[in-house]
């Protein structure tokens, strides 16, 4: 920061040439070592060679290949190997040559040469290996801590070899998301702490150390993890041990995205730690007190004024134009009143009038004030948009989840092959697993369903009406007129024709061919079936109508060869789940009927309901363990509907990232604003330094100014976002139910997500004000004190 400290000389041509040579070397190495095409595909995409990791990654591959087949090393030509290594090293040598101390001045010794050197200069060093260790080691430690904690917390101590899962012995078994939250917070803390320690010991920001540390020690882990997804050998080597990690990462859709997001968060924590450490101790000692700095910063940017806050809130809530019009009307009226007052005062007391006019002028806004207001508004818009969009998307997700889980079980127990003939026994065993609150056996199959007018392919489910309600919402979803209980008492289903048969005369007259009254219909008792609303509409049937169910699988031998098995059912009820897919594709019959129809002994599987749906995966695993593992298996709802939910989450994440760009733009505004403030306050900075404020204090003052803008914007965005969400929820924005299957835009305000939006905004503004704040602290006191 002091001009005297710029001693390192970067010779860019050498650096670039070195990078190029190293790249060539890395490619040579890669070609030499690996015949696998995965690297060629992946390394380029990740740009690994640019950071010099290409070679190492490729040697990993070589190792993996060597483990798999010893021929790999024989394939690689040793000459190419050595050549590649040499070229690679030569490239790094060139880079190293490009970074070196500035040569000593060519001039002869000045008369000052004999005098004692300015001691701080003498003490200065360019590069601290210990700081590099702290930063790089810190980020690596944070990553490893995250991986280990995640694995241990959610599944116990990982067993050494990929044998049978013996996690039951010891170790915590937290739900994966909670385990992740704990591991993430701890590793963020580790990254922050190492940044803090490194920076406060070095007493400077040391960007070269931080960059090298992050690149060379931090990057390999996310690179390896993302490679794991694409390279089978790595997946075999690492995948088993890291499956808890991959599971959590997969929750948001693309695991790679998750790895890199977490990595970015860790780097952010490190940077925050470095910055905080520098501010706290950069000028010689740890000082975290803020009272004085806030006192000054509050005067510099008076953000927390009711007029500014209310104005910005009004703009966020009602758009720019209406508040602006109101503002101009109010200002115009005020000015008119003031002018009349000044005029009348001027007749009596010209001096007082002049000072009143002076005050009026003072009232006008300075450009910096305008910039401040704009930045507050910018951050506010970003946070507001983030909160609204994420809440609406959460609303959609919650709605979908509720509908899916209303119809589907939280988990399904079945066998890898075949049915569950002894489902009673299994159910009594499953009952003992804590967390299971309901279970019901089922049989599932695909059939054709035909009414008089139409035919449709559907999924048929044999259910147990007594227990099905403990797992799904089917009993509640039955529309009035039908009854789930009638499945078991088919005689109670009134045939729809019976309603017409109510007056028997019609029926009697109706048979013109035979000419005598048809049988005074006591219709045959048919087994009941429950169908969805959409299916009922497309089949044009109502409760009591007869439908035929045809199974192409179970064939019966007819006169002309095998014919599909067919059976008649009577509609006992119609259900409406709210999901078009289900309402048009699912039908339910009695378990016993299904057993007969499909010749199944027992059931296909057992559906479970668990107390905490986020814990479904763990409970499902536990159920399998209780049942003794293979051949039983259990799948949870997340696994069964993985496509849908991971698509939704990915969409939400991407939306979040895109909307964060608004906040980043706002951060640009903050940088501009704080730089303007710094330029405007150069003289004041010099004076403050002359009065004894250390560099760290100046940094704190300007950071506090940026933070004030961020906090004000974040809070305004929070309020306006929540207000908009409430508006959408209470007043509602209509959707076409035919398209969206939902009458109004759903909103679900998730506290964590909302808080995260504000926290991210504040963090970004904090980061944005680091640079201007450092600029401010580097103002030399004598610079601003030169007499004008």
């Amino acid at each position: 920061m002091h001009p005297a400290e710029r001693q390192t000389d970067y010779r860019w041509p050498l650096l670039w040439a070195g990078a190029l040579v190293a790249l060539v070397g890395a490619i040579l190495l890669g070609v030499a070592i690996s015949e696998s095409e995965a690297w060629a595909e992946v390394a380029g995409a990740l740009g690994l060679s640019f950071v010099g990791w290409g070679g190492l990654v490729q040697s990993f591959d070589a190792g993996a290949l060597a483990l798999g087949a010893q021929t790999a090393s024989a394939v690689a030509g040793p000459k190419a190997l050595i050549g590649g290594t040499l070229v690679w090293l030569a490239g790094w040598g060139l880079i190293a040559a490009g970074i070196r101390r500035a040569p000593a001045s060519g001039e002869g010794p000045s008369p000052a040469a004999g005098a004692p050197l300015y001691p701080r200069l003498a003490r200065y060093r360019d590069f601290y290996w210990s700081t590099l260790g702290a930063y790089g080691g810190g980020i690596l430690l944070a990553e490893l801590a995250l991986l280990l904690l995640q694995t241990v917390l959610s599944s116990g101590v990982p067993s050494d070899l990929g044998g049978a899962a013996r996690e039951s012995s010891g170790g915590l078994s937290l739900p994966p998301t909670i385990a992740f939250a704990i591991a993430f917070i701890i590793s963020m803390g580790v990254a922050f702490a190492s940044g803090f320690v490194g920076a406060s010991r070095a007493q400077r920001l040391s960007f070269p150390e931080a960059t090298i540390g992050v690149f060379y020690l931090g990057l390999p882990v996310p690179i390896l993890l993302s490679l794991m997804e694409r390279v089978p050998s790595l997946q075999l080597a690492l995948g088993y041990r890291l499956r808890e990690v991959t599971y959590v990462a997969g929750l948001i859709g693309r695991p790679e995205l998750a790895y890199w997001l977490v990595f970015a968060a860790l780097v952010l924590a490190l940077v925050l730690g470095i910055n905080t450490g520098f501010i706290a101790a950069g000028s010689g000692r740890v000082d975290l007190r803020l009272g004085f700095e806030l006192f000054v910063a509050r005067r510099h940017v008076a953000v927390f004024r009711p007029s500014l806050l209310l104005g910005a809130l009004a703009v966020l809530m009602f758009g720019i134009i209406p508040p602006l019009i109101v503002y101009f009307i109010i200002r115009g009226a005020e000015a008119a009143v003031e002018r009349t007052r000044v005029k009348s005062l001027g007749l009596a007391d010209p001096l007082a009038a002049a000072s009143a006019q002076h005050r009026m002028k003072l009232h006008e806004q300075s450009p910096t004030m305008m910039m401040t207001a704009l930045s507050v508004g910018g951050v506010g818009v970003g946070v507001m948009a983030l909160i609204i969009v994420l809440s609406v998307m959460s609303g959609f997700e919650a709605d979908l989840q509720q509908k899916i889980l209303g119809t589907n079980a939280h988990a399904v127990v079945s066998r890898y092959a075949g049915d569950l003939p002894d489902y009673d026994k299994v159910m009594t065993q499953v009952k003992r697993v804590p967390g299971v609150v309901g279970q019901t056996p089922f049989i599932i199959n695909q059939v054709m369903i035909a009414s008089e007018g139409n035919v449709d392919g559907v999924i048929i489910k044999g259910i147990d009406p007594k227990t099905v309600g403990s797992v799904t919402d089917l009993p509640q979803n039955i529309l009035p007129g039908g009854d789930l209980g009638h499945l078991e008492q088919p005689a109670k289903i009134l045939p729809s024709s019976a309603v017409e048969d109510g007056d028997k005369k019609d029926a009697e007259e109706e048979d013109p061919i035979i000419g005598k009254p048809s049988k005074p219909a006591k219709p045959t008792v048919l087994p009941g079936i429950i169908i969805g609303r959409e299916l009922a509409a497309s089949l044009r049937v109502v409760v009591g109508d007869r439908v035929n169910v045809v199974s192409p699988l179970g064939t019966e031998l007819g006169p002309s060869g095998p014919i599909p098995k067919s059976r008649a059912f009577r509609v006992a009820g119609v259900f409406y789940s709210g999901m078009y897919e289900y309402d048009s594709k699912f039908v339910y019959i009695l378990l016993k009927e299904a057993q007969d129809f499909f010749a199944v002994k027992g059931a296909t599987g057992i559906e479970l309901k668990v107390a905490d749906i986020d814990d479904a995966r763990r409970i499902a695993n536990q159920v399998v363990r209780v049942l003794g593992g293979y051949p039983y298996r259990a799948r949870d709802w997340g696994e069964m509907n993985k496509n849908l939910f991971s698509a939704l989450r990915l969409e939400k994440l991407v939306m979040g990232i895109i909307l964060s760009i608004i906040i980043i733009v706002a951060a640009g505004l903050i940088v501009a604003t704080v730089i303007m403030l710094v330029l405007e306050k150069r003289k004041e900075i010099s004076v403050l330094k002359a009065l004894g404020v250390p560099d760290g204090g100046i940094v704190k003052i300007f950071l506090a100014e940026g933070l004030q803008i961020g906090v004000a914007g974040g809070v305004l965005g929070l309020f306006s976002g929540l207000a908009w969400c409430l508006f959408i929820e209470k007043v509602g924005i209509k959707l076409d139910p035919e398209v969206y299957y939902i009458p109004a835009l759903p909103v679900r305000i998730e506290p964590v997500q909302t808080a995260l939006a504000v926290v991210i905004a504040v963090l970004v503004t904090y980061l944005a004000s680091i640079y201007p704040a450092l600029k401010a602290s580097s103002v030399e006191p004598v610079e601003g004190l030169k007499a004008e």
Binding site: S110, A115, P116, R120, R289, E684, P694, G697
Partner: protein
């Protein structure tokens, strides 16, 4: 032992790409309680000398000793604290902070030291009354005249009872009558509070009224 000693100090600055050596091997002692004037031509480096003395600017080589301790061997925070506690500055311009009232400006060095607000304000008010501005404590610098602002600046320099007062042409921007008032205040401060003071000035009459006179010319400081 001298309160302030300067040992073999070198300092140069660059003007239009040319190096100007303003201090060449300057050594000097200033004893506690002295009132010293420093005169010299424009551009001779009087301000630079004062800045080096006040730790605002580091010398290229050489040492500044306060009470026998080398100030530039301290780290940034220690130097800042040294400046805060030991040295009071008065500049040619008042350099008051425009967002703060006269009272807050005067109390600022105490606030930087994180002293309690109430006693700091009380003492600042007392000082303002002493320089004759008891009625203007709540005015912002923009609402004060040049002489008033300079008196506020003097009060600010004295609020922590520093050992050394460094004044860089404190009356350069003022009319002679107002300037004389400031000079009187400086002499009073030196006499009553025993504060060592170094005053850079163009004003020969003022310089002659000081017990010790220094002249800076050609990179060398000599007794005049």
């Amino acid at each position: 032992m001298a309160l302030l000693s300067i040992r073999n100090v070198f300092k140069s600055y660059f003007l239009h790409g040319k190096r100007i050596d303003v201090l060449r091997d300057v050594s000097l002692d200033i004893n506690a309680g002295e009132l010293v004037s420093l005169i010299g031509a424009s551009g001779a480096g009087k301000s630079t000398f004062l800045h080096v003395l006040g730790t605002l600017d580091a010398p290229a080589a050489g040492e500044v000793l306060f009470d026998g301790r080398s100030v530039f061997s301290m780290n940034d925070a220690e130097i800042a604290e040294f400046r805060n506690r030991t040295i009071g500055f008065v500049f040619q311009s008042h350099y008051l902070l425009p967002e703060f009232t006269a009272l807050e400006n005067v109390a600022m060095p105490a606030l930087i030291q994180r002293r309690d607000r109430a006693p700091s304000y009380a003492y600042a008010r007392e000082l303002l009354e002493r320089v004759g501005l008891g009625s203007r404590v709540d005015h912002r610098p923009g609402e004060l005249s040049g002489g008033e602002a300079q008196r506020v600046a003097l009060a600010r320099a004295l609020v922590l009872k520093p050992a050394v007062l460094l004044a860089d042409e404190p009356t350069g921007n003022l009319d002679p009558t107002t300037g004389e008032g400031i000079h009187q205040l400086l002499r009073d401060v030196n006499r009553d509070l025993g504060i060592t003071a170094v005053v850079v000035t163009h004003n020969e009459t003022l310089a002659r009224s000081m017990p010790r006179r220094l002249r800076l010319a050609g990179g060398q400081v000599s007794e005049a």
